[in-house]
């Protein structure tokens, strides 16, 4: 790994791969760093090594990653897998952990393409062994062919829940139930956005096909389920929920939940980019222009880390960001940038058609975002409950950061990644600060904790 690159790309999903491929074709020195052992990101995880039979079960969208990964492999960009970025500064210095050693490298342009994560939504029992996120189930399936052995309950809302159910069905996993918590009122709210969504009808058709296949296979879907609870002593054994006014239980040792995905903003926060609260997507995202340029010079974002637009958009946004970096480096002119990006910009516009509908239809109900069940653990690390947060607000701690200092909520190992959204919602719901760009916990480096030994590597390097 060199000490300096013209362009450094963080993340090897569709956005990062597309950016690296286009930028390195123009002769700039470019490196791509990714925590995973192979290219693909979340959607195309293990795309190069997946056995053919498993790939087919995962669906045609997944197979698209093959092309992207092989174009990337053929390009000139240097690739560093199993490499973790733990800090990012506005001077464009990047802290990386590579082969167990830390190092600081720099770049003229940095593209953050770190993708999305599952939206954490606390509910009673969500910390029990046996309760996991749907993305976790999908990661196990894609990368190691690991699937539920004694049946599974899927709960939550959003297209990925349906996709995972369909993928599991294809390999004969018993789906005990799908508990769809999307409130029926969302259907009405989404209706005005349907005409525009019809312009991207292939997405709607795909969803309908999944639903049809699952129904034919006899999978039990409860639409409008609510008051989800996971119960058990040391591990999950029962799920409780309400459906049309009646309480139901299901025995299961595995529950996979999904409430949509949100951008991973640890790095853009650490570097100090301006962020905004996106009401429609119910999350924070870094502010950026059409090219992905953020409020900080030389820091570009693309893909789901910039705002949730899906895998196809991520690929196009990656190319736009790659062209923007080339323009900023003086390698191509503005006219060349604009001309070479016409198709990608059009694609991105077309891809947007479906989003307002999906966002309205799958919006997570406010009652789940700001739970009123005071016993529910909100901070999984420090085990702080909703009741403690509400109490802190009532005692005059009116914003998330004050609540954090008072309760230690968000100070644990995950650095608030799992609770920041819920805390902001509960604070607002209890009469504290309304949700805005300020109500996110303030980020602090390192983004992932380092050992003293790894920090010592840095001192050694500096003294050389």
């Amino acid at each position: 790994m060199k000490d300096h690159y013209q362009l450094l790309i963080i993340g090897g999903g569709p956005a990062g791969l597309a950016a690296a491929t286009i930028a390195s074709s123009k002769g700039v020195t470019c490196a791509l760093l990714d925590e995973q052992p192979a290219p693909g990101g979340q959607i195309y995880r293990s795309i190069e090594s997946v056995p053919e039979k498993r790939a087919e079960k995962l669906g045609t969208e997944y197979l698209r990653g093959k092309e992207l990964a092989s174009a990337f492999r053929a390009c000139e960009a240097e690739y560093f897998p199993e490499t973790r970025v733990w800090s990012l500064s506005s001077q464009r210095e990047v802290g990386v952990l590579h082969k167990g050693k830390s190092k600081i490298i720099s770049a003229d342009q940095i593209l953050v393409a770190s993708g999305a994560m599952e939206r954490p939504v606390p509910f009673p029992g969500w910390t029990l062994p046996g309760v996991m996120q749907a993305g976790a189930g999908q990661i196990l399936f894609k990368s190691s062919g690991i699937v539920p052995s004694d049946g599974v309950v899927l709960a939550g809302s959003g297209p990925l829940l349906l996709l995972l159910a369909w993928q599991y069905m294809n390999v004969g996993v018993e789906i005990k139930a799908i508990l769809d918590v999307t409130p029926l009122s969302n259907h009405l709210l989404a209706l005005p956005k349907l005409p525009r969504a019809l312009l991207a009808h292939h997405y709607l058709t795909k969803g309908l096909i999944y639903q049809r296949d699952l129904k034919r296979a006899g999978v039990n879907t409860k639409i409008g389920a609510s008051l989800l609870q996971a119960e058990g002593d040391d591990c999950l054994d029962t799920i409780r929920y309400r459906h049309f006014g009646r309480e139901h239980t299901i025995k299961t040792d595995l529950l996979l939940t999904h409430f949509g995905v949100i951008p991973q903003i640890a790095l853009t926060q650490a570097v100090g980019c301006k962020h905004q609260w996106d009401d429609s997507q119910q999350c924070w995202r870094p502010e950026h222009d059409e090219w992905g340029s953020t409020s900080i010079d030389g820091i570009i974002v693309a893909g789901d880390g910039a705002g949730i637009n899906g895998a196809r958009s991520a690929e196009h946004a990656g190319r736009l960001a790659g062209l923007q970096a080339l323009f900023a480096l003086g390698v191509i002119s503005q006219i060349e940038r604009d001309q070479q990006s016409i198709e990608d910009r059009q694609w991105m516009k077309d891809e947007r058609h479906i989003r307002p509908f999906l966002e309205a239809y799958f919006a997570v109900p406010q009652t789940m975002l700001a739970t009123t069940n005071n016993e529910t653990i909100i901070c999984r690390c420090e085990e702080i409950t909703a009741g403690q947060i509400r109490k802190a607000v009532e005692s005059g701690h009116q914003d998330s950061n004050h609540v954090k200092f008072l309760t230690r909520c968000g100070m644990g190992a995950c650095q608030g990644r799992q609770c920041s959204n819920a805390v902001a919602h509960i604070v607002a719901d209890s009469g504290g600060q309304a949700i805005s760009e300020q109500s996110h916990f303030r980020g602090r480096p390192p983004v992932t904790p380092l050992t003293l030994m790894q920090l010592a590597d840095l001192n050694e390097e500096e003294s050389l």
Binding site: E35, P129, Q133, G135, D234, C414
Partner: protein, 101 residues
């Protein structure tokens, strides 16, 4: 809870999980190995001593912290299995004063 679909083309490696020698597929993460071995928990929490298993499998929840090759607080879901690895369930902050990854 989980099982691995058969795939005879993948080689296995030997590692030690809580003192027991086991064979797991090459390329797996430690968390995936722990789940397929049917571990009931991979750590207990420092605050209430409650049991946890991996939650996100993508490195963002820190619920999969285990002691790997003697080092505490390693995220098992982003650590890949290597031959001869020593993997242990983590109790609370773990040994070595809870030094983090």
């Amino acid at each position: 809870m989980f099982k691995q679909l058969s795939n005879s083309t993948v080689e296995t490696v030997e590692v030690t999980l809580n003192g027991q020698k086991i064979h797991v597929s090459q390329g797996m993460t430690v968390a995936a190995a722990a789940l397929t071995q049917g571990l009931h928990f991979t750590r207990t929490t420092p605050i209430s001593n409650s049991k946890r298993l991996p939650f996100c499998m993508m490195g963002v929840c820190y619920d999969c912290l285990m002691v790997i090759d003697g080092k505490a607080n390693q995220r098992a879901c982003v650590t890949y299995i290597k031959k001869g690895m020593q993997i242990e369930t983590q109790q609370g902050v773990g040994p070595s004063l809870g030094e983090t990854e």
